[in-house]
């Protein structure tokens, strides 16, 4: 279908908010080149299931496009119009299955060596719409907490190496009462600003449900592992069912995976609304390794929560993942009942903490954000905050509560310096 011939009735199959959004912006949609339009349609079609922050970003993006003068918009879009698409690609149903179309688009861009031109066009687009895409500066600075090293008593690994230049390494933290202090912070912030999806607790093992209350959004690997198992079984069944003489290709499997939603995965049985279920499904279908390794699950979920929901509080706790086995074995066994690789998990979590901080820095207002990573039950933590110096080490004795206070208020600096 040619984008120029889009009509309101073409969106009849969309959910209500998505349909309304598409109809409101149909003039813009008609003017867009397909390699860009398909990316935006993939966001619009799920509009009803998007987080509030994502909806606001999409609204701003289209408002910006609509306000842009014709010449500027043509210059911005022209590089996308120069991308050549094959007749096979053009024949795909980008309007109703944009995710499938985009997978094929990606493969085509690589194989036709147009990926660099596409990336360049994307850069120009993002730069021009940066103010619309960057998201909201929160009224309260974001606070992200990461717990690593559960179950580890000794290690031969230098912790927080990538993070040290950016904050203070505390080496004499009193672990007593630390958990309570951290969860109290999470609860207090959620109670103070009870916006939906503004406060998250992501758990690699069994969630400490007794320590959190609404409106904290809770995701745990323990709860989602059975769903992941469902997914792997569905994929295995698909991959081993004879379809064609040529067999199943990687693209076939990826398309099948993309087609799996909350209903197919059995997410409806879990607590949460449709938005959360869609997010959970995306974690398990778009994230590589999230199904088999709890450490990967926590890292990727924290990344996606920050990128999409843009929460103001996030607590991510890494737990030991199962030991490595062959992929075939891991795809067919219960990850929760396997032997754990405790030391390897600490290394995974250390890198995961660094990536979580990097993802925090990509959000609006990041210069005011707070970040804390604690080697759980141990005396080592690292804190990054505008109230704290960078690249320093503190051997002062302090409690977790004191550390949190120092991150909130520069006046507490003297107690930790």
């Amino acid at each position: 279908m040619d984008p120029r011939s889009l009509a309101p009735e073409n969106f009849a199959g969309y959910r209500p908010q998505a349909r309304a959004f598409a109809e409101k912006h149909i003039a813009i949609l008609r003017s867009l080149p397909l390699p860009l339009l398909s990316i935006l349609i993939a966001q619009i079609i799920d509009y009803d299931l998007r987080f509030p922050a994502e909806q606001r970003t999409l609204d701003r993006q289209f408002d910006t496009l609509s306000r842009m003068d014709t010449t500027s918009r043509a210059a911005l879009l022209d590089p996308f119009f120069q991308i050549e698409l094959s007749p096979e690609l053009l024949s795909l149903d980008w309007l109703h299955q944009p995710h499938v179309f985009n997978e094929h688009l990606s493969a085509a861009l690589w194989s036709t060596h147009q990926i660099d031109a596409y990336r360049e066009a994307g850069q120009a687009y993002e730069a021009r719409l940066a103010s619309a895409l960057v998201g909201d500066v929160p009224s309260t600075p974001r606070f992200v907490i990461v717990l690593v090293g559960s179950g580890v008593s000794q290690m031969n690994h230098v912790l927080f190496r990538n993070l040290r230049p950016h904050g203070v390494l505390f080496t004499a933290l009193d672990p007593k009462g630390a958990h309570e202090a951290l969860f109290t912070l999470l609860r207090d912030r959620a109670a103070k600003e009870p916006e939906p999806y503004a406060h998250w607790y992501i758990e690699g093992g069994k969630p400490a449900s007794e320590l959190v209350t609404n409106p904290v959004t809770v995701l745990s690997y323990e709860a989602l592992a059975p769903i992941a198992f469902n997914e792997l079984n569905l994929m295995h069944r698909f991959a081993t069912t004879p379809h064609t003489q040529s067999g199943i290709s990687a693209e076939d499997i990826q398309s099948f995976m993309a087609s799996l939603g909350p209903k197919e995965l059995g997410l409806a049985a879990l607590p949460g609304d449709a938005t959360l279920h869609a997010f959970q499904a995306s974690i398990l279908t778009n994230g590589a390794g999230t199904q088999i390794f709890s450490t990967t699950f926590v890292q990727w979920t924290a990344r996606e929560a920050l990128r999409r929901a843009q929460p103001i509080t996030l607590l991510a706790r890494f737990s030991p993942r199962q030991v490595m086995a062959s992929m075939n074995t891991m795809l067919h066994r219960d990850p929760l009942t396997q032997e754990k690789d405790v030391e390897g998990s600490l290394i995974d979590a250390d890198m995961g903490a660094y990536y979580t901080w990097l993802n925090l820095t990509r959000l609006a207002g990041s210069e005011q954000s707070r970040f804390l990573v604690w080697f759980e039950d141990q005396r080592i933590a690292l804190a990054i905050a505008p109230t704290l110096p960078r690249g320093t080490t503190s051997s002062s004795q302090l409690t977790m509560r004191q550390l949190l206070e120092s991150m909130a208020d520069a006046s507490h600096l003297s107690s930790v310096s």
């Binding site: 850069q123 993002e126 895409l133 999230t290």
Partner: protein, 393 residues
Amino acid sequence: MGGKIFHTPMDSFHKAAFECAITRRNFLRLAGLTGTSSALLGFSPLIAQQILQRRKVVVVTFGGGARDEETFAPQGQENIPNLITHLIPQSTFFTQVVNRGILGHYVATASLATGVYERFDNFARVAPQNPTIFEYFRKDLQRPAEDAWVIAPSNGFNRIGQSDGSLFASGYGAEVVLPKELLASAVQQRLPHAGKLDFVLQDNYEDPFVTPPAANVSAQLDRVQRLLRLSVDDFIAHASTLSSADELSFFVMQQVMRQFAPSLLWITLHDMDVAHTGAYSLYLDAIRRTDRLCAQIWQEIESNPEYKGRTTLAILPDFGRDSDLDGAGNGFQHHRTGDALSRTTWMMALGPGIRQNVTIDRQIQSLDLVPTIGAWLGAGTPQARGQRIQEIL
């Protein structure tokens, strides 16, 4: 939708690639390991070629790039002690090798072997369209099939030894051995061993549900005995002592070197692609194992009379992995963004006629490997797009 909606662009490609090279150079310089060469001073390629009669070439590629952060950067050096202390001091080291093709392991390795950026689906079991270095070598020098070998992961690589015949006469390809396919066939006959060999049979971390077509078991078992001169039981018994697929590949490589002593031998190591699971510790383990295997390969070359003193070894990743700083990716886990760091890697060459302890900063392309191997072996590579790397001729 907050943040990136596109993969980040290539605007800073050259800057990032250069910084990448500087990182490697600085590390090597700080470690006091290498001299420098920014110009083609003092080369005497004719002399080198005179010296190297009956030259052999061994190419080691990594089908799963390793980033500087985990290798040549200061914090990464602990992962590659053998490359740093044993191999780089003997090598000419290129700090900027750029791959502008598709960043999938099979298609990228095929491009390395043809000297042309192949454009086929990475997961398709197809032959490269353009002639391979194995075909150039065998046809030009009229060498038998046993003189060119490829040892590769089984995820699609079974067609890498010979082009599809559309541009080059067929019949000059390399012997391709897929160790895991051999072992899987052996295991199928001796089922009780299967559980112990799961690690060694590990194949594809990107699409674990895509299983290759079943091999002809009897034909594979025949290959075990004919090519490796091993009984099926001995093959399984040895495999049972190994802990990874790359160790199995190295074992098969040793057998091939000892049985056939091919003049052109290509091995692709793949363990580090475990990074796709997102487990950083497993990725580091694989880098350390690869580092050890590279040293063992050189030791095998130096201890085998057929190879000692006449073999040039080239080691290079097929490409890199995504940068931590590109928000479109997820750092070490994948190689999907096409950013500068995922396209930029390094290469070392060592052996007689290659200057030792030298670092080259000028940018070369991964496509330059084929014309260079052709020059080493005396074979023309007319359809390869790359340029001969003068510094190591």
